[in-house]
């Protein structure tokens, strides 16, 4: 690994100022599970590392009076995965966090890092998008809120201003009869990366047999984490049955824009979007029915 400068500011404004000042030369260090590996294995040069470890504002998980949930960007994979607040609020955020690397990696890797790394194959970010979460950004010019779905602009690319940081994510309370599911396809059972990931959130009518609203967000099959909008359209107002799910699966496959790479061909990925959309929706509906 090459030499680098290191700063671990205790104030958010300090961190933002450093990042704004050094521009492309500086990189944010959250858990380091991507950055450090890239610096070691791929010889990536980073003149300045700005660690976020001492920023209290970026930590913790809490529920607000309005029912929304706030997760600090520095919450680790294991904190998010095991949080009862997260599990009760939007179970699939816990499910996605559980898939970050190994147990050891989840002790370091953070939710903010998973979003901030902006990998199309991220597991923890798509549930945030599907749950209509917003990211609270803080920078030298102040704070602003951006939907997580609008944050990623392409592989490794975020719509952040120079000097801007992700402070936290806010997940609105879901309506009654809502169930969620994040599921991914990987060739082996652990320590893998999504070939296809599906985050699904379904809200049922009071009859528990009709889909009131549905959100389907795709991972690893597009440059970002897009909603499968045609699939969502195909679900709204429909009765819960195999045909509805099959139509949604097909629509999501058509919505996806996968590439072929060493992990899978685009064709196979599309087939898996179909399969896993159906499976994710089936579980989300089951959970919606079980929910209060």
């Amino acid at each position: 690994m090459r030499r680098f400068d290191y700063a671990a500011p205790t104030q958010v404004f300090e961190a933002c100022a450093l990042l704004a000042d050094r521009g492309d030369e500086a990189r944010v260090l959250a858990g380091g599970t991507d950055l450090i590996v890239q610096m070691r294995e791929r010889d990536r040069r980073v003149p300045l590392i700005v660690s976020l470890r001492n920023l209290a504002e970026l930590k913790g998980i809490s529920q607000s009076a309005d029912g929304s949930l706030t997760i600090g960007a520095m919450a680790t994979g294991n904190e998010v995965h095991h949080s009862a607040l997260v599990q009760n609020h939007a179970f699939f955020i816990s499910e996605g966090a559980e898939l970050l690397g190994s147990i050891q990696i989840r002790n370091r890797g953070t939710l903010g890092g998973n979003v901030g790394n902006a990998a199309p194959s991220a597991d923890a970010a798509p549930p945030l998008v599907a749950a209509n979460a917003t990211a609270s950004l803080v920078g030298t010019k102040g704070k602003r809120d951006v939907p997580v779905g609008d944050l990623m602009t392409g592989p490794g690319q975020l719509a952040l201003e120079p000097g801007e940081l992700i402070q936290s994510f806010t997940v609105p309370a879901a309506p009654a009869h809502t169930g969620t599911r994040y599921v991914r396809h990987v060739p082996r059972r652990e320590m893998d990366i999504a070939v296809v990931g599906i985050a699904a959130q379904v809200t049922l009518e009071d009859d528990l047999a009709t889909i009131k609203d549905a959100s389907v967000v795709l991972s690893a099959v597009a440059p970002t984490w897009p909603h499968a909008t045609t699939a969502e359209q195909a679900l709204r107002g429909q009765s819960v049955n195999d045909t509805t799910l099959a139509n949604a699966g097909e629509a999501a496959a058509a919505d996806s824009r996968p590439i072929s790479d060493v992990r899978a061909s685009a064709e196979y990925r599309r087939m898996m979007v179909d399969v896993y959309t159906r499976r994710a929706l089936a579980t989300a509906i089951e959970r919606a029915r079980a929910a209060v």
Partner: protein, 777 residues
Amino acid sequence: MAKVVERPQEKTALRVANKPVSRIDGIENVTGAAKFGADFSLPGMLWGAILRSPHAHARIRSIDYSKALEAHGVVTVATAADFDDDVVEPTSRPHNVFAGETALYLGEAVAAVAAVTMEDAEAALELIEVDYEPLPHVLDPLRAMEPDSPVIRHGDGGEIDRTEMSFHSSVASSAEDLEESGNVSSQVQFGRGDVEEGFAEADVIKEGRFTAAMVHQTYLEPHAALAHFTPAGDMRMWVTSQGQFYVRDTVARLLKLPAHKVIVQGTAIGGGFGGKMTLLAPIPAILSKKARKPVKVVWSRSEELVAANPAPGSVIDVKIGAKRDGTITALQGRVVMDTGAYPGSPMSTATMLLGSCYVFPNMELEGFEVLTNKVSVGAYRAPGAPNSAHAIENVMNWVAHEIGMDPIDFRLKNAIGEGDRWPNGQPLPNVGAVEVLEAMKDHPVWGTPLAQGSNGNPRGRGAAIGCWSGGAGGSAATIKLEADGSFSVLVGTINLTGNTTSIAQVAAEELRVPLEYVSVHQGDTNEAPFGPVAGGSQVTYTMSLSAAAAAQDVLRQMKSVAAQRLGADPDDIEFDEGKMWAQSDPDRYVTYRRISDEAVGSANGPIIGTGHGKPARGNPGFAGTIADVEVDTETGLVTILNLVGVQDAGFAINPLSVKGQIQGGTIQGVGYALLEEIVYDEDGRVQNAGLLDYRLPTAADVPDVDAVIVEKHNPYGWKGTRIVGEPSIVPPGAAITSAISDALGIPLHNMPLTPERIVMALRDAKANGRSNGNPAG
């Protein structure tokens, strides 16, 4: 426990041998106290880094490293020019340290830098100016065999270096080196009877073309070596390698040093599986010789996956004919093995092994080793055998299915045995093929019908066997009687698999002392007697003989001292539990401690025993696998429900260690079957040079492997010992792929069967109307 099928009566009961014993070095390994290759450092040490070719095939017009030499911290740079022409062998990877006139694969070493820090060394690589002239390249072995393919080597002469392959197999290879045939670097043929007649007699004929991917041995510890060329002119080295004497000889030759001036200490080793011989060691050696300082080089995992020596991919055609009663009438086979940029693959072994488990009255086998612009291949645990077993054993199951015979019964009817001949004409000693098959048949998994799968997913079962000839090298050991009556054993072999524990068991058994009275030390190449490479499953096979002989030599000397003290005839001396006495007067005894004292002060001097061993011949080891699987037909994901590994160990010196070997080999077979594959893009660049995308099975991907030891006495081994390390990796790939084929009811031809390959095969079968529930197609 082990299933003893054949063992001669012992005169005395066994005390230490044949008992499960935890590895003596286990605590050190699991607490991190053991020092592996990269753990060694010296004061003033430099770090080495390697510049690699960015082209799959390119002429090197010039190398200018003057700027690198001026860079911060850099002490020296080495290239091919640092080795004399008369030691370089362009066709031998260990003797062609850096690309000379031509780089033959992307990632081939072109130069190396030694600098004060790793960072300085890596930064300096970018300052080396290499003028490459890219040449056309070829990556697919079948394409490389076509007449209009780019040619990789133009008669660069030199003999094919089969040294590393010979470590693994004591069986003579009859492969011919071909000079004027494009990219086919060697070719082999085996024949018997008349295959046309054989197929004419057959009621059922099944055939298929099978592909197996290039896979990496993926030892836990990457290559690492530290070299120190001392002011006295000694080349001292600490190397993680399976063969310290092989490293010594290679470095001595390349640097033109006498063997005794190259002193190699093999370190604790984090796995090798045949892939860790002498690839890296010459680089720190030449850098240290130039810099006159210690130099350490440690490979990254990506260097491992791009530029080590993985196991070869292959394309194998197999055709088998049989009568309705299960009698095999003919075998035809053709192996095309991708050897990468250097010849020396296990092609001829793989070809021969097609005909090595069963009696084939008529056979015609041919094999081709083909050069491509990929990294050169090396040995990987039973080199080439998993590829062969994958092809032959799947077709065996298709034939059994077609004639409606139990696949194990079909194998038993045709299994090879003592006196039968391998394709090379060699008659076999008492191999355990039948006993392994019978143990498989007796296993509860085989006797229990498959249950229904979950969510309607199909389940399938596959059985396969395989064999490996193994090495039978010469070895030596010395044993010292220490002052307190305990013993220390000195060996020159590497403790790759816990074999020092087995050697200690052998010595303790022969010396009739508890295991705690014996320690085994692995000395460096000057201290220790010669020991063969820890490969070819041979270390315990041969070292047990030399350790036993050294113990007998020690006992002979001890008896002489005891006889003097007791006033008895040495031939009358009996011994046990640290005491010797005359059988004529069993009440008076002398302790081992007293014998040691006496010897030091006597004309005899301190007692040191020497033993030499070499098994009279190899005796192939047979292994079998039963696999039960469930397949998610929508996603192609395979769940292995049951995995049984059966192996004939002859006499298991340490059954715990043997079971570990069976489990390890079987799990590596899971990688072959389902996950592992080095993938190249069209430019010849490895696409998955990391352990995320080069997928090994994790603990979550494999069930508990039920390891069953069969013991059929081998007349050439200590107390009947056979080779153990390699055979267990041979059949699991075949058994698992066959089980998937059984589950889906379609023939499958590739390893690994990734989820995508399975889904696409199912889709194609549906499209072709072949989804008829017949795995034999």
